[in-house]
Symmetry: D2
Subunit: 106 residues, 4 copies
């Protein structure tokens, strides 16, 4: 599966439905949050999650993330790696190992 | 940028810090929601967003999505395309064109 | 503590700062979500939460809920009780007792 | 409508269904986020919201906030006013008037 094929499939899906008009960055950001909560709903009461539902909702979050990245001209994987470089600096191994604290609490 | 390289970089980052112990599917799902809200914060009051912040927060959402997918043995792009096939059926072009209604309102 | 005094204090706070212009129902709904995630962040990794932080973030969620209710002319406690009546019907005691399933799974 | 009557009604509703076992602070915090996103869904695409849905979802957010406050022994209105006092200091009128910036940007 190539990234460009996925982006292309999403673009076609949106274009066919003339949905670009609704896809402002703000509306897409809201949609990411809404779908993230539907993903979380699978873990609401601490019971074992239904993996098929989890997969569908995780896919929805990813889809809106990809649409937003595409809208803003960002490469999804590149921005993940750029942020990872920043996070490595905020959480150096020797300080952060085995701890879940925020960087300003380390 | 290859997907497997990104996943590999994330795995190393987590392993070096011994953070795997915190990365239950539930905790990762919470993290997706938390970061999604930080992304949304850039659009809270309808003013122009700071794109560097948007990029960082979108990267955080994507990062936790990739970690969750990896945890559950799911391929991020494959599940996006599988879900897209379902969504195509729920929103057929002739009914959904130019409308933002939910499928049960079309 | 009377509800009308709290609402009145919030109205004055907003008016003094001329923030009413930002408080569209949509922006307030985004704000409820954003603050809800900050509340959730206290429970992100399953560690004991800092209760002072929890109190502050819960207060923020409540504040935006009260501002939204006030904007829409709704009484916060009345709508809670109205919804409770609906939820009682969706989750009858004999079916729902001791179960965390959604109503359509009972 | 008195606050204590609302809290009492919520307690009875939970007790009858033996749902207290699910209502850990963490699960309630997740639930606040999940319902906040359902509220936001009414404003997802920028169209006029259905006010009856908004009322129901706002009531759900408030309900989980009240249950969490009750669980933690906090008075909902008192914590709103306590937080308001802090926010007044972070956003002094002369600096914050007419601006939607965060306090560290004022």
């Amino acid at each position: 599966m190539e990234q460009r094929d996925v982006i292309q499939a999403l673009r076609e899906f949106v274009l066919e439905r003339d949905w670009g008009q609704f896809h402002t960055p703000e509306n897409l950001a809201k949609s990411v949050s809404i779908e993230a909560a539907e993903l979380l709903e699978n873990y609401q009461w601490g019971n074992p999650a239904n993996l098929e539902n989890v997969q569908d909702e995780l896919a929805d979050v990813l889809t809106y993330c990809l649409l937003l990245a595409d809208k803003l001209g960002m490469d999804p994987y590149e921005i993940v790696l750029e942020k990872l470089a920043k996070t490595r600096q905020k959480y150096p191994v020797e300080k952060a190992r085995g701890r879940s604290d925020k960087y300003d609490q380390l």
